[in-house]
Symmetry: C2
Subunit: 205 residues, 2 copies
């Protein structure tokens, strides 16, 4: 477990930073209102913002205050964030897909583990699936205990894995066992027993 978590996360963050580039609420509001088949007066009634102001905002003749935006959001029964984030600008796979055959993942070696990034050719995924052969037999073999704000789902494909955490007792997982945890608490994996330990895990940001 040492595919460079930091890097994976930064990559995603970088991307998010410049998404929603044309942060124009005008067209966004117009699209939303028309999408519901509302007139300016409907929108006005729902939000408490005058129709004229609404019209000016939609056409970019006026930059609404945040409190106005909040009132509009309430009118549309949505939260400010989703009001501001245009789904059309959201990075999406749009029907794309990627297949990785057995043992054909993209190698990504790191200190204590032998990782294979799965479906790595698809960019801007919301999850990162990885197949890892756990090498470490002892916690001492880890110099750093990785930590991010991601969530991790892992399942043991073969062998026995021990999950060590700074806030829990060590936990043994056998073939077929699953675990879901928050990577903001440091966790590392070691293997146990004679068989080699293979873990399939997926992480999100």
């Amino acid at each position: 477990m040492n595919v460079d978590l930091e890097n994976l996360q930064n990559h995603r963050r970088q991307f998010n930073a410049d998404s929603n580039k044309s942060d124009e609420i005008g067209p966004r509001l117009h699209q939303l209102r028309k999408g519901r088949g509302w007139t300016l007066q409907d929108a006005s009634k729902a939000s408490g913002i005058s129709a004229s102001a609404f019209s000016k905002i939609e056409r970019g003749e006026l930059s609404p205050t945040i409190s106005t935006i909040q009132r509009i959001a309430r009118g549309f029964e949505m939260d400010v964030l989703s009001l501001l984030s245009d789904p059309d600008e959201q990075p999406t796979l749009l029907g794309r897909r990627s297949v990785t055959r057995v043992n054909e993942g993209k190698p990504h070696l790191s200190g204590n583990c032998d990782n294979q990034l799965l479906c790595a050719d698809l960019k801007n995924k919301r999850m990162t699936p990885i197949r890892t052969r756990v090498v470490a037999r002892d916690v001492e073999e880890y110099d750093v205990w990785p930590k991010t704000d991601a969530e991790i789902y892992m399942t043991v494909l073969s062998g026995t894995v021990v999950v060590h955490s700074k806030i829990y007792e060590p936990l043994e997982l056998h073939e077929g066992d699953s675990m879901y945890y928050d990577a903001s608490a440091e966790h590392v994996w070691t293997r146990e027993g004679p068989e080699e330990a293979i873990v399939l895990w997926v992480l999100t940001s």
Copy 2:
């Protein structure tokens, strides 16, 4: 593959809708500025907003316009959305974790598949891991082809699965093969051959 996708999605959406309830930019900006050790003049220089205005905004004496917020976001080198979304309010697992032992998932039967929700006791996860025994042998057995805006990662644990899609040719996946796809294009699974087919999949919103 027929764990009620709609329901899973709606659940998550519902949750997102009322996140960020105290949408007060004032404290948020104060926290951000102080976090960087900036004075009001620093913030003013970076954003182009006068220190006095900045002060008033922080104390809620003034509701900034969206264009002001955009300028502030540029000053802080972040996008408007992450400026507005207080990470402290973000739903997080905060070190929580959940384990599911082999064959101990929460059953979730549906038309053509035998699903087990894994780690189902943890709420507000960003991913939903599911273990499914694919029953259908023919596409005809599906009355509806599920479709959402989620992304799906799946891997075949045993047997042979054929992935049918409205926009791709059918694709055979064998034990150990992985696939990542966008569920906005309809996909259904059937099994092939004598062995029973088990799929492990994870979906995100």
